[in-house]
Amino acid sequence: MLLVILEHEDGVLVEAAREALTFGRTLAEKMGEDLEAALIGSGEDSLVEAAGQYGAETVHVAAPVELTDYSPDAYGSIVAQMVESLEPDAVLACGSSRGNEVMAQAAARLDAPFVANSLDATPGDDWLITRVQWGGSLLEDVTLEADTPLLTCGLHSVASEPGDEQNPDVEEFDAELDASDLITMVKDRVVQEAGVTLPTAPVVCGGGRGVGSADGFGQLEELATLLGGRVGCSRAVTNLGWRPHSDQVGQTGTRIAPEIYIASGISGAIQHWVGAMASKHILAINTDREANMVVKADWAVIGDLHEVVPAIIEEVKRRKA
């Protein structure tokens, strides 16, 4: 049996969990095993039903009363307990921030290997796995030698898709937690931002070192507002203190996936590119015809962004009028 650990928020199976089940269906088939799922912290009907839509035949629910919010220690401990008592043939989660953390916690407890952010896995005596390095700029083929392979699939490495709908059996899982497992439980939650966020914006107007100053971003702000989008930036810009890190696109920033990414004065270093490559379309504005961003873009304008961007703003206003 392949056991898929499901992430959920407010009674909804998050996209990462749907991806894990989608990835898990293919993997379970390769293993010749059943697909089962685990819910930690809540066994609400809506979650069980959603897991069934994505092909889970059985859902194990571990919801000890004292576990009122996320805790890496408690979640990791529960996954480790499931490995020991349910004896799955492998355990999979999605490589979200939480998914990787929970699997690492479980692996540490089991003193077992854990392979993060897999793109492809071939079961066998030793498993053969292709995984992400450098945030997606490089791939690594590894062998995994383990009693129970523990792995995550890379976030957004598969598009989630419902499978043969199941009406899953629900099995209560009796997890034992001690006080030390609850030390890292979330104490408080703060809501900060409403409206379009960078990961979900339909248009992102990105600026790099070529923008020249913090004030220079005023024009990109104006363009982004006109197009219902958000401003993004490169790490050069955050390091210079021109924009907050929350605007940074890339390996150590945000991964964006807009309809169009307009990248002005950005060279397109590989660590920036991996955060931008899920954009459906890319338009580069750069003085350098050979810049990586220009070479990889769908469209480009060669020129000084301080002339090009204001001209675009005028033209957008004219057509909207």
Binding site: D73, A108, D141, L144, E145, R189, H245, P310, E315
Partner: protein
């Protein structure tokens, strides 16, 4: 407040990452090296906590002898001690790395006392295993939270007390409050790391780097090869030069329906 920061030396590639002919490693022949960005912020975060509460920062790395450069860089921005666990090459698997770091930390603490806080990067920039810090914390029996972009220490930061940490989630953040001694995996965005001053640079040349030999059993994950993902090559359509291109740009925006 005594803080340990674990850092990793990684190559700093530009437009492309090349792999050696045998696929065993990144071809770093023409590349500079740096500290993983998450860990640069971890060092800065530790230095700021010590500036607020007094105490000292130690940096620890496992890697080839050249990793001394990253320890000295950390010293140039405020770390007091550097420890290098020297190993050949760069291919240690996460279990092995964690075991060797745990042994090193136990040794340092036996000599110089317990760290109130240990910081790791959330994941290394190159291998991205998302687990070394978690494994070390578990082996030391300390609470650990990943994904941290804000840290505060209660009281004077040392001995008993708590660490309050913030983790960004979509549209807000989670707050954790954990007892010391604690371990955190931090992310870029925690702060804006300072640049070394001339004085810092000079001082960093003089600090003593303790060197330990790395020993630990191999874990269950082993590298076969590294390779670049396949990429769709697309022809770039040049819409024009300078301000004249604006009309063509807005035509594109119109076609995509984002106007």
């Amino acid at each position: 407040m005594k803080i340990l920061v674990c850092v990793k030396r990684v190559p700093a590639p530009g437009a492309k990452i090349n792999v050696t002919a045998d696929g065993s490693d990144v071809d770093a022949a023409h590349l500079g090296f740096t500290t993983s960005p998450h860990e640069e912020c971890a060092v800065e975060g530790a230095v700021q906590l010590v500036e607020e509460h007094s105490g000292e920062v130690t940096v620890l790395t496992l890697g080839p002898g050249e990793s001394e450069e990253q320890l000295r860089y950390a010293a140039s921005v405020g770390a007091a001690h550097g420890v290098l666990v020297e190993v050949d090459g760069n291919g240690w698997d996460p279990q092995r790395t964690a075991a060797a770091l745990t042994t090193a930390i136990e040794g340092i603490e036996a000599e110089r006392g317990r760290f109130d806080l240990i910081l790791f990067g959330n994941e290394s920039a190159d291998a991205g295993g998302f687990q070394v810090g978690v494994r070390v914390a578990r082996a030391l029996g300390r609470p650990m939270v990943q994904g941290i972009k804000g840290i505060e220490a209660s009281g004077d930061g040392s001995g008993e007390g708590t660490i309050t940490a913030r983790r960004e989630i979509d549209g807000g953040f989670e707050v954790y409050e954990i007892p010391r001694p604690a371990v955190l995996g931090v992310m870029e965005g925690l702060n804006l790391p300072r640049y070394p001053t001339m004085k810092g640079r000079l001082a960093s040349k003089k600090i003593e780097i303790a060197k330990l030999a790395g020993h630990a059993d191999e874990g269950g994950q082993s590298r076969i090869t590294l390779h670049r993902p396949e990429e769709a090559v697309s022809e770039t359509v040049i819409l024009g030069t300078g301000a004249e291109a604006a009309a063509a740009v807005v035509d594109v925006l119109d076609e995509l329906g984002v106007l």
